[in-house]
Amino acid sequence: MESINRRLAWFGAWALILSFVVAGCGRGGSKGSEARRTDDFPRPEEPGAFEGTGRYGGRIVYAEISDPKTFNGMIENEQSSREVLTPMVEGLTNLHPITQEVAPSLAKSWETTDGRTWIFHLRKGVRWSDGVPFTADDVMFSFEVLYDEEIHPSMADLLTVGGQKFDVKKIDEHTVQVTTPTPYAPFESFIGGVRLMPRHKLEEAYRNGTFESAYGVNTPPADLVYTGPFRLKEYRPGEKTVLERNPYYWRYDSEGQRLPYLDELIFVTVPDHNTRILQFESGDIDMIDDIPADGYELISNGAAKGDYTIYDLGPGLNTEFMWFNLRTDKNPQGQYYVPLYKQKWFNNANFRRALSYGIDGKSIINTILYGRGVEHWGTTATVANKKWHSPNVVKYPFDLDKAAKMLEAEGFIDRNGDGVREDPAGNRLELLVQTNSENNRRGQIGNLVQEDWTKIGVKTTFSAIAFNDLVRRNKETFDYECQLLGLGGGGLDPASGMNVWKSAGTTHYWWPEQKRPATAWEARVDSLMDAQIQELDYAKRKGLYDQVQYIISDMCPLLQCPVRTVSVAARNRIGNMKPVILEHRFFWNVDELYIKSPEEMAAK
């Protein structure tokens, strides 16, 4: 018996040890190094200026939800790629997220005389990250790619008016002229969205028709050339992307030091948000974006120990809303998309208003958002959109009695005492609300709304289905009654909502792609949107868009739910950290971030 035991014990122990060998556990920390430094790389003739200062050395680690899919700034279209590209690519201008105004980037200045012709003066002496000079030829090349029919980046549609592209002309090595067919108000906001690509690296691929697969994730780092503060050092699929300082970067601080300060910027892929939170707490990663409502308390309690700060950025830019299927037409098989009697309900503005009063915003904020939200009505211009938000909208604070009275006034009365109202023709007031099952929060909101609406005699069924199914219903088959979805990202400029607010728009939720506006108020919104896109005077343009916000809130095609507030956290040892509500939260000023010295940390 003993020899068996010994053998088996040895066998088992070997298996155990093999699996649990603990090697030296090094955890990378970031140490700063020398403070000042000058370098031998040529200084541009017209450098950009940063009014502050910092300290060289160190690295920052940031966790993304998934891998970047491409490093091609012209064709990327999802968040993980965008996050990694932000420190690398640049445009003529960029949006300063704190002032929310357009600021110079690779164009140091620009002007227009007639509102249609814009002259951009490029920054002299800027070089690509491989040292090759940046000139107007690169800008011409980038626009040629932008307007290419085959490649057709989404950005091109925002820089096209009535199907007409903008005319781009090279004036000289450092001057480019762009002419729009008609005055185009969002021009200044949108032009910076064109990422400038190096002609000397990509022209060949473009002529060969392989531009879209150029600058993919397996591009050798030395070949990935841009003008931004960082350049690619290494990419490991599924694991991490490492960026290093671009020694040719064109910005200098107030003490004449070239930016950026950091040696490295590392993006690790951590798909699970629980793991991200734990990694943040233990110091593996240096910041955490959009702290989930249920993790907020845990993270704020650990702030002192983990040596980080929580930044409450206020209400975000994402809206969540419900809407009814307002189609009154028939499908190709000759049947109404929405049964005739239900059309009468949904298309009755007072019906929609009444049900909007039935959405308990305060409870949603307190119980579902853990107190982290604000009520919102109108369009997608939340209060975070400083330039365009209008407070003059019709509001619908929760009031079940008012909702009930409004329904009564429209003839929706419970005539037979079964708890469910009937319309004047005797049809029971029943409806189906759907949202996407992947989103937990929407499920909770749907349940709450279902309860409240049922209380006032509107028998509501709520179901969560797959997102793709939801989109198919509201974009292709239109067999739905009421959906709960949200809109996020996009831009601040009202022009980014053209497809939503115009009746012919593809994302005009309640009835997309109308041939002619179905209602007078939709026609009015159409003409307002058409007018604002040509109105270059900000005050006048705002007046037009304010009216759109008012009409949308008044006619209530969208029943708005509260907007979430956003909080983030970042390690205290990172200097010049100024998180903002807009993208990119932490890295909009990545070239200014630095690691504080122990002396600076102790001095606080």
């Binding site: 018996m1 020899s3 068996i4 035991n5 053998r7 088996l8 066998f11 088992g12 070997w14 298996a15 155990l16 093999l18 699996s19 060998v21 603990v22 090697a23 030296g24 556990c25 090094g26 955890r27 990378g28 899919k69 064709i75 279209n77 999802e78 057709h152 989404s154 549609d157 697969s213 993919g216 994730v217 490991r236 699929p237 599924g238 694991e239 590392i266 690790v268 892929t269 951590v270 798909p271 699970d272 629980n274 793991t275 990694q279 233990s282 593996d284 797959a466 997102f467 793709n468 199914d469 989109v471 974009k475 979805l485 980014s496 053209m498 497809n499 939503v500 728009g505 593809t506 994302t507």
Partner: protein, 322 residues
């Protein structure tokens, strides 16, 4: 034997054809395609979506798409293009396969390395404290959902600092020496392999115990003992050799199931593997990447079953193949 192996490899072809056709068909049944998400984005124009549909071939009827896919594999060994990752499917799978195999094989070593000895001890010392303790942990291991266990381990790693919180290697991996690198890998493998291997380990241990108990009751065991053989020879050379028969068959499925179960562990513990790639592709309706993942998984399953059958023939002289 050789012709048998050859025939088994030939079986791969109709099986893979059947699996791929069925998978392709089932994917088409679900509403929407890769571009559905983009349709909901107000900033993507209708033409752009139509162009992309044409480019990706998504506007053709599905049998045509399937035929083209098959043709590309047979003629050019080209598994197609991943819409989401904008790269060929073959390259993507190749990159992640190694990571997943590393994790799965380590989990298998852990599972089997513990299951067999513990199972044998439990059977030989039935009802002893070892047996009771192993059974307890076996039931625990079988009942605990792997996601929960993974999260628990991540929490454990965070609180104690003894193990890394997910990930496959540390940020400074490249600057380590050879043994440093080996150690780093093992350090990162420990918890994921534990989570992945616990369920199978528990199951196999109970199986081994049960089989061995049955065999130990047989007459020939008593005969062997009365012949004067040492106890260890009786148990290991005779009893276990017979008891292990069903476990070898299970071994074939074990690897394949580890590959699929790895998805949850890969997500929670940030392990860059094939499971995560395939499931992400599934949610994004990245058609050709899903197909590539399915074909790969099917191939591994069939090959590991073949290996198991060969091992069985080697272990049990009664079994011959022709």
């Amino acid at each position: 034997m050789r012709s048998y192996i050859l025939r088994r490899f030939l079986h791969l072809i109709p099986i893979l054809l059947g699996i791929s056709l069925l998978s392709f068909f089932v994917i088409q049944l679900a509403p929407g395609n890769f571009l559905t998400l983009m349709k909901a984005d107000p900033q993507v124009s209708k033409q752009k979506i139509a162009e992309m549909e044409r480019k990706f071939g998504l506007d053709r009827p599905w049998p045509v798409q399937y035929g083209l896919w098959l043709k590309n594999i047979v003629l050019h060994f080209d598994f197609g293009y991943s819409f989401a990752n904008k790269r060929p499917v073959g390259a993507l799978i190749r990159e992640r396969l190694a990571n997943t195999l590393l994790l799965s094989l380590t989990a298998m070593v852990l599972a089997w390395g513990l299951a067999l000895p513990l199972g044998i001890i439990s059977a030989v010392r039935q009802y002893s404290w070892i047996d009771k303790l192993s059974s307890f942990f076996a039931f625990l291991g079988l009942s605990i959902p792997s996601v929960f266990f993974a999260l628990l381990m991540i929490l454990f790693a965070a609180k104690t600092g003894w193990f890394p919180i997910g990930g496959m290697e540390s940020l400074d991996y490249d600057s380590l020496g050879f043994w440093g690198k080996v150690g780093d890998r093992l350090h990162h493998l420990a918890l994921p392999a534990l989570v992945l291997g616990t369920g199978p380990m528990a199951g196999h241990m109970r199986q081994m115990r049960g089989n061995l108990l049955d065999v130990l009751r047989m007459d020939y065991v008593t005969t062997a003992r009365s012949k004067g053989l040492s106890e260890s020879k009786v148990i290991l050379r005779h009893a276990v050799r017979n008891a292990i028969n069903p476990l070898i068959t299970i071994f074939g499925y074990s690897l394949a199931s580890l590959l699929s179960g790895a998805f949850l562990v890969e997500v929670v513990m940030a392990w860059p593997g094939l499971g995560r790639l395939t499931v992400d592709a599934l949610f994004a309706r990245d058609l050709y990447l899903v197909m590539g993942g399915v074909v790969m998984a099917a191939t591994i399953l069939i090959i590991s079953n073949l290996i198991a059958d060969i091992m069985l023939a080697l272990a049990d002289p009664r079994i011959t193949y022709s």
